[in-house]
Symmetry: C2
Subunit: 363 residues, 2 copies
C-alpha cells in the first residue's frame, strides 16, 4: 500500500495545442490569438504562452494586466501582447519595458495615453456594442478627432451571449460593431469574438479571434457536444477510509446525517484548492479501481483541505488510491454544472493554489 497526501493537477499541453489548432481551422482565414489572462485561467500563463508560441506558432496574446504581460513577454519574442484592462499610472512603465499593447477602453484612458504615449506602440481600442462593459460608446467615438482615430492598430469588442447560438444579442452586436468599423475605423484590423464567437460563423470572426475558454477544453458552444479535448485532471489521495455509523453526522455544521451504515473516504483536497464549496452534499468524486470507474457522492460540507465521500458501494478501495474531481469523463463543464457556476470560474480557481503537485504532459 502506498500513502500520499497532496492533490495533483495534471495539465495536458498536447491537448491544448490540439484545441488551438482545431479552433484555428474553424476560424480560418481569421488569425488565431491566445487569451492567457488570469495566469492562463489558472493553468500557468508562462508555460501556455511558450507552448503555443513554439508548437502552434501563435504570435498574438491577450492578458488583462501588464504584470501578466510582463511574465510572458520574455518567452514569446516578437509576439504581440494585448492588455485588456488598458493603461494607467500603475502599468505604464511595464508597458514601455515589455512593449505591451494596451487596449484603450475609455475617453479618460485615451487622454492618459496621449499624455504618456510610448513610441513604437500603437494601442488597440475597445468599442462597446451591447455588453455594456468596457469600451467607447457611440457618443465617445463621435468626439474623437482624426488624429485620435489614427492612433490605433486594432479595433475590438466583446460578445455578451455568444454561447447561445440564436440569441438576438449576437446579430445586434455584430451589426453595431460593423457600423462602428465602417464609420470610424474602415482600415483597421478588427476582433469581435472570443472562443464562443468562433462557432457563430465567418462574419463574427473578423480579422482575429481571441481563443480562451475553448482552447482550455471548455465547451463554449454548449448547444452541441463539445468538440474540444479535455486538458485538465484533478485528483487527490484518499487519506482514510472509515465506517460511518447510522445516525452519525458528517462535516462542518453537521449538514449530512447517515440514515444507514456507510463507508466513507476522506480525500485530501478542498476549497482551499479551488474545489467549490457549493459542491457540499451534491458534488462527486470518482475512483478508478482495476480499470473501472466508480462514482461517489460528496457527504457534508466541502472543507478547506478535505472532502468526505460515500464509498459504501466501492469494493477494494484503499488508502493511497486517488479520487478524481475532474477528468476526461467528468470535465470542468460537469463539475461547474454541479457547483452551480460556470467552468471558467472553476478552472480559474483550481489553478491557483501553489500547493498542488502540478504535472504538465507534453510530448
Amino acid at each position: 500500500m502506498s500513502i500520499f497526501t497532496r492533490p495533483v493537477l495534471e495539465i495536458n499541453l498536447d491537448n491544448l495545442v490540439k484545441n488551438y489548432n482545431l479552433l484555428a481551422k474553424i476560424i480560418a482565414p481569421a488569425t488565431p490569438s491566445a487569451v492567457v489572462k488570469d495566469d492562463a485561467y489558472g493553468i500557468g500563463a508562462e508555460l501556455v504562452a511558450q507552448t503555443l508560441y513554439e508548437k502552434a506558432n501563435c504570435r498574438n496574446f491577450w492578458v488583462a494586466h501588464a504584470v501578466e504581460g510582463a511574465k510572458i513577454a520574455p518567452l514569446v519574442a516578437g509576439a504581440k501582447i494585448y492588455l485588456l484592462q488598458g493603461v494607467g499610472e500603475d502599468n505604464i512603465d511595464l508597458i514601455k519595458q515589455f512593449k505591451l499593447i494596451p487596449v484603450i477602453a475609455s475617453p479618460e484612458m485615451l487622454e492618459f495615453w496621449k499624455q504618456h504615449k510610448i513610441e513604437g506602440i500603437k494601442p488597440a481600442i475597445q468599442v462597446e456594442t451591447g455588453l455594456n462593459r468596457l469600451g467607447f460608446r457611440l457618443a465617445d467615438l463621435e468626439k474623437l478627432s482624426k488624429d485620435d482615430l489614427s492612433l490605433f492598430s486594432l479595433v475590438m469588442s466583446h460578445l455578451a451571449c455568444a454561447d447561445e447560438k440564436d440569441h438576438f444579442m449576437n446579430q445586434h452586436q455584430l451589426d453595431n460593431f460593423n457600423y462602428i468599423r465602417e464609420t470610424y475605423f474602415p482600415k483597421l484590423p478588427a476582433s469581435l469574438s472570443a472562443s464562443d464567437g468562433a462557432f457563430l460563423g465567418d462574419a463574427f470572426c473578423c480579422d482575429m479571434v481571441r481563443l480562451g475558454a475553448a482552447m482550455y477544453g471548455i465547451n463554449t458552444a454548449p448547444y452541441r457536444p463539445n468538440q474540444m479535448n479535455n486538458i485538465i485532471t484533478v485528483k487527490a489521495p484518499v487519506l482514510e477510509i472509515a465506517e460511518l455509523p447510522k445516525g452519525d453526522f458528517v462535516g462542518y455544521s453537521a449538514t449530512y446525517r447517515a440514515a444507514t451504515n456507510k463507508k466513507i473516504a476522506i480525500v485530501s483536497i478542498g476549497y482551499g484548492d479551488g474545489i467549490p464549496r457549493s459542491l457540499s452534499n451534491v458534488g462527486k468524486v470518482f475512483f478508478n479501481i482495476c480499470g473501472n470507474w466508480y462514482e461517489s457522492r460528496i457527504l457534508g460540507r466541502v472543507s478547506m483541505d478535505n472532502i468526505i465521500c460515500d464509498v459504501s458501494d466501492i469494493d477494494n478501495l484503499e488508502v493511497g488510491d486517488f479520487g478524481f474531481l475532474v477528468f476526461d469523463d467528468y470535465t470542468l463543464d460537469d463539475i461547474a454544472r454541479d457547483a452551480g457556476t460556470i467552468s471558467y470560474e472553476v478552472l480559474s480557481r483550481i489553478g491557483k493554489n501553489p500547493r498542488f503537485d502540478r504535472k504538465y504532459d507534453i510530448k
Copy 2:
C-alpha cells in the same frame, strides 16, 4: 485625474497581531498556535508566520501540506510546524529536511510512519470525535499497542459546529475527546479547538488552540458581534463610467436589463481575482467620495476581470477612483453572506491571484 488598472489587496498585519494577542488572552492558559495553511488562507503564509513569530512570539504553526511547512520553516527557527494532512511518500523527504511534525490521521498512515520514522520527530495523532473526517476512530485506537501509543507528542481533534454556541455536537465531541484522552493518552498535551472553539470556554481550549479564521478577522462566533479587527481591504480602480440607456442589457448572458436610464461604473476586478461570481446581480461595491461612503449594486454577471455596478446616485465619481469590495465596514463576513458562502472560502480565493497589487501594513 489619475488612471489605474490593477486591483489592490491591502493586508493589515498590525491587526493580525492584535487579533492573535486578543485570542491568546481569551484562551489563556492554553497555548496559542497559528493556522497558516492554504498560504495563510491566501494572505501569505511566509509573511504571516514571520510576523507572528517575531511580533507575537508564536512558536507553534499548523499547515495542511509539507510544501506549505517547508516555505515557512526557514522563517520560524525552532518553532513547531504541524502537518494536518499527515505523512506519505510524497512528503516524507520534506518532513525530514525541515523537521516538520506530521499529524497521523489513520492506521494506514501510522504503518507508513513506523516504516519511515525520522529520528527526533514525534508526530501528533488526530482522533475522530464526531466530525467524521480525518482521525483514528475508537475501533482503531483499541488496536494500538503501548509502543504505538508512545509514539506521539500531541493528541488532537476538530470540532464540527463550534460556531454555534449551543449546538449539541460541541459537548458531545468534548466528551468523546476527554474519554479518548483519559483512556489512551493520559499524559499527552491535547488540542481540540480551532478559533471557533476558542469562544466556547476553558474546557474546549485544552492545552493548545489552533488560531486561524478569527485571527484573520472572521467572526467565528457569529452569535455575537465580531470582536476581531478586520485585516483585509480589497479595492479596484474604476476604468470607465458610462450611461446605461433604459432597455439595455448588462454583462454576459444579458442577465440584467435597465428599466430606467442609469449610470454605470466598470471596476477592474472579477472572479479571476477571487470575487465570487455568485455576487452577480446581488453583490455590492462601495465608493468613498470626499470622506463619505456610497453603496452601489453589481449589475449583471461578475466576469473574470471586471464588475459593472450602478453608480446612478453617486455624484462626483471619476474614472481612476477605487471601488471597495471588502473593507472595515463591509467585511469578509458581509461579502460571504451576499455571495451565499462562508468568509473562509472568500478569503482563501481572494488571496490567490498573483496579479493583485499587494500592500502589507505593519508598523
